[in-house]
Point group: C5
Chain length 344, copies 5
Amino acid sequence: IVSVPREQLWVPDINIAEYMDEDKAPKTPYVYLYNTGHVFDDKPLRVVSSCRLVIYTFPFDIQNCSLTFGPYLHFATDIRMIQGLTSEEILNQSQDVLQTNGEWELTGISVAPSTLALHEGSYSEIKYYIILRRRPVLYVVNLLIPSCFLITVDLFSFLLPLQTVDRSSFKMTLILGYTVFLLIMNDLLPVTGETTPLINVFFSISLALMVGSLLETVLITNIQCGSSQYSAVPHWLSILVLRYLAVVVFLPRKKKSSQHTVFLNPSLGVKPPPEPALDELRKLSRDLLAIRLQVDKHFQGSETSQEWQMIGIVIDRLLFGLYIVFIAVSFITIICLWSKHYAA
Amino acid sequence: IVSVPREQLWVPDINIAEYMDEDKAPKTPYVYLYNTGHVFDDKPLRVVSSCRLVIYTFPFDIQNCSLTFGPYLHFATDIRMIQGLTSEEILNQSQDVLQTNGEWELTGISVAPSTLALHEGSYSEIKYYIILRRRPVLYVVNLLIPSCFLITVDLFSFLLPLQTVDRSSFKMTLILGYTVFLLIMNDLLPVTGETTPLINVFFSISLALMVGSLLETVLITNIQCGSSQYSAVPHWLSILVLRYLAVVVFLPRKKKSSQHTVFLNPSLGVKPPPEPALDELRKLSRDLLAIRLQVDKHFQGSETSQEWQMIGIVIDRLLFGLYIVFIAVSFITIICLWSKHYAA
Amino acid sequence: IVSVPREQLWVPDINIAEYMDEDKAPKTPYVYLYNTGHVFDDKPLRVVSSCRLVIYTFPFDIQNCSLTFGPYLHFATDIRMIQGLTSEEILNQSQDVLQTNGEWELTGISVAPSTLALHEGSYSEIKYYIILRRRPVLYVVNLLIPSCFLITVDLFSFLLPLQTVDRSSFKMTLILGYTVFLLIMNDLLPVTGETTPLINVFFSISLALMVGSLLETVLITNIQCGSSQYSAVPHWLSILVLRYLAVVVFLPRKKKSSQHTVFLNPSLGVKPPPEPALDELRKLSRDLLAIRLQVDKHFQGSETSQEWQMIGIVIDRLLFGLYIVFIAVSFITIICLWSKHYAA
Amino acid sequence: IVSVPREQLWVPDINIAEYMDEDKAPKTPYVYLYNTGHVFDDKPLRVVSSCRLVIYTFPFDIQNCSLTFGPYLHFATDIRMIQGLTSEEILNQSQDVLQTNGEWELTGISVAPSTLALHEGSYSEIKYYIILRRRPVLYVVNLLIPSCFLITVDLFSFLLPLQTVDRSSFKMTLILGYTVFLLIMNDLLPVTGETTPLINVFFSISLALMVGSLLETVLITNIQCGSSQYSAVPHWLSILVLRYLAVVVFLPRKKKSSQHTVFLNPSLGVKPPPEPALDELRKLSRDLLAIRLQVDKHFQGSETSQEWQMIGIVIDRLLFGLYIVFIAVSFITIICLWSKHYAA
Amino acid sequence: IVSVPREQLWVPDINIAEYMDEDKAPKTPYVYLYNTGHVFDDKPLRVVSSCRLVIYTFPFDIQNCSLTFGPYLHFATDIRMIQGLTSEEILNQSQDVLQTNGEWELTGISVAPSTLALHEGSYSEIKYYIILRRRPVLYVVNLLIPSCFLITVDLFSFLLPLQTVDRSSFKMTLILGYTVFLLIMNDLLPVTGETTPLINVFFSISLALMVGSLLETVLITNIQCGSSQYSAVPHWLSILVLRYLAVVVFLPRKKKSSQHTVFLNPSLGVKPPPEPALDELRKLSRDLLAIRLQVDKHFQGSETSQEWQMIGIVIDRLLFGLYIVFIAVSFITIICLWSKHYAA
């Protein structure tokens, strides 16, 4: 074994097909010649290569990248590439010296000699397949968990009573938070390749659900609070919602307390003889009645608006149920897809 | 066919007119000489070139970039550039080895020999036109869909009843969310070229609509809630809004319940003889009347402010209609422009 | 005309005084010798130079950058720099091949031969002045228009009635939105040079106006809603504000309805003879009076706080007027400065 | 001692095993030959190396990086690496000339000669271990302190009375602030290595606590404000919560004021003889009773909802206690881990 | 004077000790030999050096950086470095050609010959000290002024009346705005060096003040609005706060209006003879009394909660005062430190 300056031998360079950038590693001017005819080129290479990422199951993805080594000029009759170490040895040595930024984990290396056959002749090549598994902790902690938190908050916000708390404003703030959150995502997510990653579908569904539930809240708020200007509930709607849908959402229809309308009519029809004290009493009575009507109207609302409010509650609860079902189905689907691809 | 070191032949370099940066690809020291007189230079080139993007229809744009190959020194009489492969072969090979970051899709390559005629002589050149189509999924998911969501929320927010919910605060939060959203856009959007892209027009219209509807809400809120300090509604305004515009927005004018003013006057004019019990009753009556007036005023507002509120409702609904019409027209226009350019 | 390798002639390099970075353009090894004695060096140069930007009128600024070409070694007696093309030809050719990122527009090129006289001898130089005009669309759309929108919203928010809507919270959200907006600005704005750009003054004034109007709102809110704990309005303040300032802001002073205080005193001084029914009536009367006083106080507030509220309204409207005047003056000034510099 | 051009001696280069990038330091063409046979190579090297960071205790972490110097070609029989200075001298000199960006503090250097034994022969090497301590001030000020502030605000927000202030909206804004804060973190935090840093656990727990307390608030709000539509409290729940849990949270059960139900029944059963004045009085009585019932219901709520509210208060206080305990335990644990690792 | 190619003379390179990166300036192949024995090397150098910044007083800091020129190989006996121009000439020429990005202003240059004495011999060196003053306008406008604005808003927010406006929510939004603002800061601020800059202390104090005042607001809100469930005020607290502290904050203790409790007791003890009309009247009386008690309680609160509210107001005003004092002291201190260091 002799080490000889590279230039004195005209040993042709071994090229890497996936090369992308100039080699910036320090140059080594020697190759080793063995008496067996083997040539051992101990040249360090700094390869910046590109690998077609399959990010459909991001952040639970496993990538398979290849590096092809071969002579640039000489055919297979002149130079034959021989695998020096077994793939297990390479894997072990690589895992010892590998220093990643922690995101990727080297899980396997496999080697396969191959031949590039052109019509002028064929070249001997060696292909190394490098299998990298992404460590998903960072993305789970920073993307998936907060997103699930926000969806959970959105789900729970259906419990906020519409009359006392401004639920629409609450949900608007939630969506604002989700928009801020989209900012973080754009920094962390890889740009979408040919297939849209599942996680993008996940986020789009989440945003759509939030917006949908906000629109529902605005609608119910309009029914609940703005119903004083509505005309009477159509009969079919009343029957449909209050009799049938109400049962579906476990909300028994309340009996109307028809008490207060009974009292009103007689007090207007009586016409007693004019007498000073009685006159005063009647004026008192009229005023008190007027106050009572106002108070009744203020605290209970008219019968029409009460019926509208009841319809609002039933629809709110119904859509809440549908929302839960939809979230459950879509998230279970996504998790199934992730776990299937991750296991594979 | 012989491969000869490049230096020993003084083969002139082939240049690329659109070159922008130094070539950093690994050097190959050989060219192939064929006995037919053809010279085949298998040199890999790493070209960083610039291409004038036409981003009017971004993100649905198709770009046409050209690469011009030619000798730097020798006239067409010395070196003639010949197309080695057909454009279909180049396209197929390119699509096999192409590795983009997923945003661009290579849809076509066309080749055209050309001649650069200067007055010293003419150079033989070959021009390659590369047609790239942008994959719009990322931008549709991250920019267009959330923006449409926010516009939809803004549209629905007209349903929020002004008296019970603070609609102006809701819309302000919405605009805040849109501002955050503008942050994301600035990261994703290409800088505007000579023509402003349609998507910028889209976003500007969206923001203008939101701000406009917020200003409208502030105005209506002022009319609705601050009307207690207004002077009486001018007659022409009352006629115009409540009789004509109200019909346009399907809001029949409510009949005023003129009942309560009738009761008030007689109770003040009566002067009964002084008697202890009666005196007490009258005091009672006066106090009760005072309370009743306060309650009436609180729950119903004065007639003037009721009329102002009615005007507010009519204008609110009218502008809501105009808002819908404007959104519909402008968005349909933009979508038409996009689809026309995308199909072309 | 012969093209000769550069090395065989020892043609000295032509230098650019404004050079900043190593030339990375592909090297050309030939220069052209004409039989007239002219030497034509067709060397492509990739110059990364710096130019002192005058950004006072950003984004409506026009920059004037210079490139100086000259020999590094030989005095004017040995090498004289001669302008090959007229400045119009250069401008036309440049505009044909120029590929900017769309922000800058080449509007003019002028040429001037000059001489660098050192005490060892003088060098022949050629100076090219390149006039670039910034295309302001991007900045107008992303910075100026949204900023004006936010200022307009701030202006309109004075219309929000203080009693029913939380105007201070509305303005706080607005300022929050402006802060987010400042984030976008910091990405887009060039760092300030020796003179502060007008646009920075514009944004600072906008922010100051918003904060000022928020502070005003907080103050008026304190006067309007917290006045129940105030002592009586000082006489001079009452006169000043309600008599003089109220006229300035077109707010006629309302006559106080002095009706309700008249009723109160007699009902307390009467002492009728004890009798069961009358006694009950008196208790009734006392309770009713107490309720009425509470109701009066709740709905109208005490006279003191009514006066304070009136003062609050007057001051609010007065400052609103001043705010409009100030905005108008400062914005007109800025626009005048911009247009003056842009036209110049 | 003679300084001789490096090329004339064929002195082999000394390599650094951790090399990552091309050496860009200015080249020195000489080495020093001593008459003792020592060769002193004064070559400056600009090494961009990588070091496996252990960031479990970030930002209180101490890193230990190594640099290995050795000949690339010659065995230990030809070249022996000798340590020129003691590690104390190196440390002192390094601390004098070191210019970091302030984040890292050089706290120690140790040297160890080592041997790389391959089967062809062994190489003489010298390893330098560099111990760097991170200055945590930036991260404590920008990450830990604001995060603790937000957690404290979340803790205090339990004191906000649910009936008068919209606590859920307050907490939602707080979480929005925390999301913005996550944006800052993503800029500052190093990407997670193989082990998740404690600080990530800290932030995740903080976010989980905030979301958890928000959900609790939504639940209690539902119980407190929406209880008017609930059915009666189950007996076991009432006993469990109001008798046992209430004691745990130091909230004595209030005695119900059963006074007002007593008054109601007799007034409905009495049927006096018809007489004009008496008739009026009875109408008065009926109306007043109706008003009173409304007022009672409005101000106190029904007995059922009062009981639900009491349950809400007890659970609120109970979970507040649990929240405090959980925060205390988890933060003390984290601080202990940090301080233990920092001291070690 | 002759200009000779550098290689033909073996003129040793002059090195710069602070060198950090490879020199990328265009190479000049000549040096000037004077007949006086002086050698003039007109070589342009592009130095990327590092300078230990002292950022304690950022953005009002003045930096002092040094550049050391000396031969790499030859001792002072062979090459002596001589200062060509006076420091004033250098300063003037530098200010003429200097093109910074506007942040730094060159205010002084001083020159000092020095000697690097090693034990093999001593080297002749020249040190240039460059004094740079940071232009603080950008940071004052973008960091200090908005921060002061937010602090001012926080200060004024104490004026928001707690009963009518949700002050805690207002302050929460303010803190949210400050968090967004921290994002901007992280982009603009230099990383902290060995000493923490004063501006960081400034921002930390600001944030701490905001959070502290928010916590105070939550506490006072609890006292003000949640006091209906409190037990009676302890006597010592009542005395301490209402008698002594109230005087400190110029809040005279209001006399309690003890009127309404007097009326209540007699109406319950009277037992008149049963008579129909009187009976009705008594029922009326009872109902009215019940209503009045509810109204009283609703509008005034119980005496206990009134006392708690008074305590809340006193503490609020007291802490407001302390807050002002603390802000004033800390800001004056910081401004003094800044101005002292800036003047020095």
